[in-house]
Every structure is written in structure tokens, then in C-alpha cells.
Subunit: 561 residues, 2 copies
């Protein structure tokens, strides 16, 4: 981080403390803006925990952010940051300087743009490739209302590979709305960028083929280039694209060994792939997050990073399965929402043996509302032919993966990154289709049914009781065998605990099934309520919703005394 030292020697006077809102930038010279940019970078580095992805992304667009807020008149002008992982400096410049040290903490600033946090954040975002559609909508609204303002979307070359960005560009090229698209080209998605467009760098031809006015490139680290380029671009009416060349600011990150669920996934997959040549793996831009980079080292020809393109990832996997392969399609639970139709139409309807690994399921913690993997069970459970599994422990993920690759139908396994704070004592038995696992035999007054990774919390809650309830591990979200339903119906109290949305979750299914066989006992259901969950540590959030041993213990007291 050479500029840290550079800064000390050049530093004339601190600008940052005088900059509270974009209006404060207007009176600065380009040199002063450059100085400010350096201060902003230092400030971000000094005030964030080390989490490379977002810091790097924000530092990389430091000059672009300053230039945009210098040139534009936000929030009257509309500025949309695609994904929003690069918005730290935008936040600092728009009234959140002082609050920035609370970044990503519970009750503190969100790590992403958040419309409830500031009127300068148009949307609460976190998923990629949405900015162009949204800014066109805003531009049309302004036009229809006769309001004159600028509309700018900033999108990285990584996010540009997402299909909806193309849908929007193709529409914009025809509709000719007055929108400026800034392509932040640092040849990077989350991992190194993928796709011909990024590699062949034929952006001018690409944008022009879509009827867009391509304005050329400018140096994204030189304010003396960016500012006039933006000013000129905004004078041109209609849709136009300015490409800003940036060099990704690398921030050192500790390379940690694989652990927990990720380690179980990758190690099991490697072991299985050694003896089954049909196994191939697919990831949309998450090779390192998934752990699949380890798989890739061993099987370079059988590992496919398709870039940010979840829809393609799923249907590509379907094609591979149709061709006789055993595709392992790894998706973050939250991003699998992008490919629901492909899972229905291209995988489940064909009944193809694709195994989906839905990582980062449940509450993910500090990434917040856009990233929690809490809808997957509800979204997938109505789809025929597919089975949806959730391990109660990292070792069960291994058992489930082994089972899944042997099936001739689609299987989805949802699992968290790290698991809960308290790992369960769990030696998973082999899987049987639609059968639950008995974890603990005990007091016949209560059956606790666990679905997901809160088993450790349940076990912890039971520690001080002499009598235990029966504890079952549901395993299969979509169906429970008649014999297991009958077993459950013999308990006067049933308590279902799941780590995601109650609405559409396994509890509702079990309630309906138990009713259908005439159950008349008490039915309790714990899970997440019908609301978007903000950011905080995983532990803080599960505590907030009563899904830790503390609350479980209180409930057990009532049942077990």
C-alpha cells in the first residue's frame, strides 16, 4: 500500500473532515479532489474490518466516486451503483462520514446501499446486474413527469455478464432513454472475470450493436480525465456508455484453509470425483467462495466457472446431465433466486440428476438483507421431482452429497458457510429417502424436529434438563414418509425448528400433513418471520429471532417440567 507513505509526505491539509455532503465537493479544484480521494482511501482502510472484496471494490472506484459526486447533483440526479459493494466512498461523501465506523455492524451502516439509510442510496442492493433496468425506469418516470435530471448507472464488467443487464441494454438501445451507463472495467467479477466480452475487450462493437452511443474509455484513476469525460457525456442526450478503466486495488486478505461446511463439501466432492469420472462442477463466479478452486486444481477440465450468470449455470448443468454427466451446481442460496425458472423448467421438468449445492443458506450475517439465504426452502419446495435437503452438521453435508450424486433425480442441498456458534454433537447415519433421523430419544411428551443447522443450539439448550424430548432431524424438506408422520403424531407436542422463513418452510408442510392424518396435539413452529432481516452477526440475528439455545431453553422448561 505504497500510497499510504506517499500521502504522509504530500499531505497539505485534511479535506475530508470538511466534506459532509456532495455539495461540499463543488468548490474544490481537481488537485484538491485528488488529495481528498487519497484521504478517502486511507479513511476506508482505517475504518473497516479486513474484508477484501468490498474494500477493494470501493477503493478501486474512489476517483470515479469523487468525480461523479463532483459532476452530478445528487440526490436530484439519480446515481445507481450496481451490486453496491463498491459504495463505501459514496456513503462517506453522502452524509455518513461519522457513521462509517459502524459499517456492517448491527444497527450500524449497511455494507451496501440502503434506501432506508440515505436518500442518496436509490435502492437497497446487493445482487448484481440490476442497475440498468432500474435507472431506465427512473429515467422514463422523470421524462413522463417532465422532470429534467441526469440518470447514471455504474456497472462493473463482472456484473455486465448477468443476463438481465443485457436485457436492459437491448431495451435501452431501442427506447433511447436519456441514460448514462458507466462501465467500470477492471476485468474482475468476484473472481477473475469470465466471458468472451471481458476477455476480447470488444466493448465498442458490443454496445454499438445494441444501438448505444459508445463514448470511449477514460483512465479511472485520473480525475483530470474522468471529470471532463463525465461532463461531456452528460451533455449528450440519449443512451450512452462511458468505459472507465480501473486497476483493482488489491487489499491483502488472509488466505485461510477450508473449514466447516465448505471443507466437507470440497473434500467429499474431490473424493467422489476421483472414482466417478462423470462428476463435474459448475459455479457462477464463486470458485473461491465455494471452495471449488481446490476442486479445480485437481480436476481443471471438470470445473466450470461461468461468471455471474446463474441462469446459464443451471441450464448448462442441465445440458451436462442430459449428456450423461453428474453436474454439481454450486450457487449461493440468495443468488439461486435468479435461476428458479431454470431449476423448474430445465432441470426438474426433465428430471435430470443435477445436484445443487445452495451455500450460505440461512442468515448470513453482516451482508444483510440482500444476502440472507432464507427463501430457498420456500422457493424450491413446490417444484416436483426435486428433493431438498439440509444437513444439521458439516459432517452430514458430506453424507448428503454422497447420497445425492447417486440419485437419478435432481437434489438440492442447502447449507450455511460456517454453521452456528455451537456445532452439534452429530454422527449422521446413512440417508434414507424421506426418512427423518432420530437424534435423541427421550420424554414422550415432546418431539422436536430440526431442519437445518440449529441442532447445536437445541442440544445446548437441553444440557441442563434431566429429561430430554425426542429430537428428530428432518433432512428432507419436501416429503416425510408416512411411517415417520405416524411416529410424530403419537407425541402430544410437536415443535418444528427451522433456520429460514416459516412461510413456505417445512413447518407449514408438516402442519398440513399432520392435520391430514388427524393429529390433534399441540404444534409449535420456530423460524424466521415474514420480514426482511437486516445485517448483524449471525449470532446476533438468530438471537433477535429467538433461534438460539437461550430462547429454546425457556421453551423447553415449559414442555419438560
Amino acid at each position: 500500500m505504497a500510497y499510504l507513505f506517499l500521502r504522509l509526505s504530500l499531505r497539505p491539509v485534511s479535506r475530508l473532515e470538511n466534506i459532509l455532503f456532495p455539495a461540499d465537493l463543488k468548490r474544490l479544484s481537481v488537485d484538491e479532489l485528488s488529495q481528498l480521494t487519497r484521504e478517502l482511501k486511507d479513511f476506508v482502510l482505517a475504518n473497516t474490518e479486513v474484508k477484501a472484496g468490498h474494500i477493494s471494490s470501493s477503493l478501486t472506484v474512489a476517483e470515479l466516486t469523487v468525480a461523479l459526486h463532483f459532476v452530478l447533483n445528487t440526490p436530484q440526479d439519480k446515481l445507481f451503483w450496481d451490486v453496491g459493494h463498491q459504495a463505501y466512498i459514496h456513503k462517506i461523501l453522502t452524509g455518513r462520514n461519522k457513521a462509517f465506523s459502524t459499517n456492517r455492524m448491527k444497527e450500524g451502516l449497511s455494507g451496501f446501499p440502503n434506501s432506508s439509510e440515505s436518500e442518496y442510496d436509490l435502492f437497497t442492493t446487493g445482487h448484481s446486474s440490476t442497475s440498468i433496468s432500474a435507472i431506465i425506469g427512473l429515467a422514463v418516470a422523470s421524462r413522463l413527469s417532465g422532470e429534467s435530471r441526469n440518470h447514471v448507472a455504474v456497472i462493473g464488467d463482472g456484473a455486465l455478464t448477468g443476463g438481465m443487464a443485457f436485457e436492459a441494454l437491448n431495451y435501452l438501445g431501442e427506447s433511447k432513454e436519456d441514460v448514462l451507463i458507466i462501465l467500470n472495467d477492471n476485468n474482475s467479477a468476484i473472481d477473475a472475470n469470465v466471458g468472451a466480452l471481458a476477455n476480447e475487450k470488444k466493448y465498442p462493437a458490443f454496445f454499438e450493436s445494441l444501438g448505444l452511443n459508445y463514448l470511449g474509455d477514460c483512465d479511472g484513476h485520473n480525475l483530470a480525465e474522468i471529470i471532463p469525460a463525465l461532463q461531456e457525456a452528460l451533455k449528450i442526450k440519449g443512451p450512452k456508455v462511458l468505459r472507465v478503466l480501473t486497476k483493482r486495488v488489491e487489499v491483502e486478505t488472509p488466505q485461510s484453509a477450508l473449514k466447516g461446511y465448505t471443507a466437507e463439501f470440497v473434500n467429499t466432492l474431490r473424493r467422489l470425483a476421483e472414482t466417478d469420472e462423470r462428476i463435474v462442477a459448475i459455479s457462477p463466479a464463486m470458485l473461491s467462495g465455494s471452495g471449488l478452486n481446490e476442486f479445480q486444481k485437481q480436476f481443471p477440465n471438470r470445473c466450470f466457472d461461468v461468471g455471474i450468470a446463474e441462469q446459464h449455470a443451471v441450464t448448462f448443468a442441465a445440458g451436462l446431465a442430459k449428456g450423461g454427466k453428474k453436474p454439481i451446481c454450486h450457487l449461493y442460496s440468495t443468488f439461486s433466486q435468479r435461476a428458479i425458472d431454470q431449476i423448474i423448467h430445465d432441470v426438474a421438468l426433465q428430471n435430470l440428476p443435477v445436484v445443487f449445492l445452495l451455500d450460505r443458506a440461512g442468515l448470513v450475517g453482516n451482508d444483510g438483507a440482500t444476502h440472507h439465504g432464507v427463501f430457498d426452502v420456500a422457493l424450491l419446495s413446490s417444484i416436483p421431482n426435486i428433493e431438498i435437503l439440509a444437513p444439521a452438521s458439516a459432517s452430514e453435508l458430506s453424507v448428503m452429497l454422497e447420497w445425492a450424486v447417486m440419485q437419478d433425480f435432481p437434489v438440492a442441498i442447502r447449507y450455511p458457510r460456517t454453521g452456528g456458534a455451537i456445532p452439534p454433537d452429530h454422527n449422521p447415519r446413512p440417508l434414507e429417502l424421506h426418512r427423518m433421523e432420530t437424534i435423541l430419544k427421550g420424554n414422550e411428551k415432546l418431539a422436536v424436529i430440526n431442519f437445518g443447522f440449529l441442532l447445536g443450539e437445541i442440544e445446548e439448550a437441553l444440557k441442563d434438563f434431566e429429561a430430554n424430548p425426542f429430537v428428530f432431524n428432518l433432512r428432507f424438506a419436501k416429503r416425510l414418509s408416512a411411517v415417520d408422520l405416524k411416529t410424530l403424531s403419537s407425541f402430544p407436542n410437536i415443535w418444528v425448528i427451522e433456520d429460514s422463513q416459516k412461510r413456505g418452510g417445512v413447518g407449514e408442510y408438516l402442519a398440513q400433513q399432520l392435520f391430514e392424518i388427524g393429529y390433534t396435539g399441540n404444534f409449535h413452529h420456530s423460524g424466521l418471520p415474514d420480514e426482511f432481516v437486516e445485517h448483524g452477526t449471525m449470532q446476533e440475528l438468530y438471537e433477535q429471532y429467538g433461534l438460539t439455545h437461550i430462547e429454546f431453553k425457556n421453551r423447553f422448561k415449559k414442555f419438560l417440567r
Copy 2:
């Protein structure tokens, strides 16, 4: 249809009866193939009910289909028809000549490719833009297995606007798999095509910017051009694109006046839009199917056809809402599956007042498994902030739309095209949030809860009974007020009837809610089972699943005697 007459005079000898499989084409000359193509067109016209879309699409690619099956060695070579609405002649040439008159009938041929029907149909399809991803998957599988074969996807210029097609092209341009993409360019989606790429016709620059080998154009109605072009194209290794220019064969369709639910939707929308300037309408390529072409005539500046681009449609609507408009986003229920993440991330999370009209909900009839709108309730119910409504009658759609545009949160209204065979006797009362409507007061032994358009069947089933049950119209899928839940809990028998998947539907939700308040009566639940439903008339299919008055009557007998 001039060629009908032409054919009679030129006809040398019938070829079609001797052609059972593609191998039978190989011995024919180009002239004979041309003659055969004419016969095929006549055969299609003679053997299909008038349904313009699919007949036109199939006739338009008649020559291309014959040429592909002449040049390729299917099913060893892999041929993927995008969407599949153009596959009639493909079906006739691949062993289904005799069965073709059963097209789209229950137990007969599917109107789309269907992999359980023939090994020549790679996938069961119906949704657009999937072919490129799937064919790349098949090509990679062949390569890894060391199997040499051709891989061809045929995609129309309309389907090319769908984002996942772009994701696949961008991936293909980098991965360089040996795949031939045929762009069937007739400048048409379902309605006239939309998007800059289609209008500016800059296909060469577009494909080349993505690293694909663009082979130029050929006349899609001239076998003497298509056959050598295909043969040459297949000799070239790697990814390549051949553009086949076709002129859409128009088949006369009776223009019928709007009726039923469609008429209620459009007429109400027009009325509301006259007094509320904020109302705008968005459709992805379904202006005529939705009835919105009538709205467009009256409000040309407030109606947006975005082409086949459901993701963009939803996020564009979100932008419009953020800009102060009241967007009405019309989607076919089955195609809304493409935009689940956009509904979650770009609309519901922002709590924007977008009104979704989910048309063709429930079983749609002859279009079959790919088109039934039976997953929408399950897919949307776990999403916070949004309300999901279903009218029991066409007139209730009007009441619901009027209510929806007044809210400041997102609302989805799912409704069928025509309604059931028996329209209900229903004068809908004004809506109250989370309140059900009492349709019929009667015998306190049973409460029937209707969700969706089967109310007419319920009423019909009750005609011969002296005592009625109570009949309630649920209206809101996501939540029922505590007071209404209490009302329900006083009935010893509750029977929920919904016209879509039971799994994830309103029945499961009500079961769980009733359990939570200690209900111990009998709970019954009718809806669709956990399986994909094939094609047939709506009436045949609902009958098959026991969702008509006939089966309802049998059940009422048990309850009401």
C-alpha cells in the same frame, strides 16, 4: 395461402407418406426435399386446430427443419429447438407423422418438444432462451466423453432478447465449445420483436464482439442455400452462428373481442389510468395476449413492451415505481418464474408499489407442463412486503386491481385467462386487507375456503343440497386476519380448495395458522399434487385432479348429510 394452389399443379408424387424418420430424407434430391417441404406445410395446416402462434412458427421454419434433418444425423447429433413452439415439422419428420393429428390433445402429442415422447426431443421445453446453455452443456459432455457429434441450437430473434441467451453466448465465446447456433431471424417474438439488436440488425458486430464466428446469412426458404450453408458451418470447429432469414408465414386468426378476466383487467386498467396519470403498464412480449394492446391504443406513451425479458420488465417497473409511477407489470404466471429474484430484491425489498398481474394462473390447458401457472403462490408467498391475491371471478379481478393500485406496497394478482367452465355467481364486496369474503352462510359443520377461480365449481356442486356449508373466499394468500382465523376455528370441518400446487399453497399456511391457535377439528385440502401436469383441456385436467363439481359433490355428500 397461395402455395396450396401452386402445390396442386406441381405435385409429382407424395413424398410425405414415405418419410417416417430423418434417415428417409437422405436419399432425396433438393428438388424432392422442396416438394416434401410443401407437403409438410399442407399437412400441418390440415392437421392442426387454428392456433396461429405455433402453426406460423412451425411453417416459417419448414425449410430449415427439413434441411437440418437432412444434414444432421439426429438423434446422435444433438438438435435443440429454443422454446419449441416451432417443432411441428420436426415432430412429423421424427416418427410422429401418424400421431400428429392428436397434437395438443390429452394423451396425444405435446405441442412442444417433449423428451418423454421421442428421443429426438432433447428437452421438454416451452420457455424461451434456454437452448444455448443446454446445447453447450451437451457439447461439453460429449467432449469430456470423447464422443464426436454435432451440437446445434435453433433460436429465434425474439428468444435471443432473453438474458440467459446472452449469458450463454458470452460463455460460449470464451469456452469455444464446438456448437452451431442458428439464429432464425424473422423479426418476431410473440408480438413484433423489440430491442435494439433486432431493429438495428447489427448481428455480425454483436456476435463477433462475443468471440463468436459469425458465418453470415442465408435465405431460410431456399433449401439450395440452407443445405450447403449448414454443411459448411458444421465443418468449422468451435462456436459459430449462422443467421437464417425467414419470413413469418402468417396464418389467419380470428380476432376476438376481449372477454372474461382479460376484458375485466384491461377495461378496469383503462378506467383507472384515465384519472391517475401515474399508472403505466409493462409487458414482456405479451401485449396482445394480455389485452394491453387495447391499453396501448389509448395510452401509447404509458405502455411498455420490453420484449422477452421478464427480469428487465420487473426491475424496470421497480425503477418506474421509485420514480413515482404506478407500474402495472403484466406477466404470464409461468414466465414470472424468470423474475423471482427481481420481485424479491428489486421490488419487495424496496417495498415499491408495483402491481403484478400474473395471467394464465392455474392449469392453462393444452400448452401443457411448461406453461401451467401453478407455482406462483408457492414462489411468492415467502416474500415479505408483497400481498398475493387471487380473484374468484372475473369481476373480482376488477375489484382487486382497483384496490391494488391504491396501496403503497407491492401486490400480485394471479388469475386465469378464461376462468373455469362454470362462472361463479359472485358479486364481490370491497376488499379489506387480510380479510376473507363470506360467499355463503350455511351449515356450521363445514367451512369451505376457496382460493382462486374454482368457486363456480363449488357452487355447482352445492346445487342439489338442501343445507349448504359456509363458503369463504380467501382472497389474500399470505395472511388471514386473526379474527377470520378465529371464525374458521369454530368449524369442526375445514376444507381448503385452491387451483394450484398444494405444496407451498394457502392450505399449508392455514393448517399451520390453525394449529398455532389450537384448532383440533378436521382439515381437508384440495389442490394440485406434487407432480408436473401434462396437457389437455383445462376441464379435462381439473377433472383428472378431482377439482371440479363432480368430485366436490361427492365430498359434500359426506360432510352435509
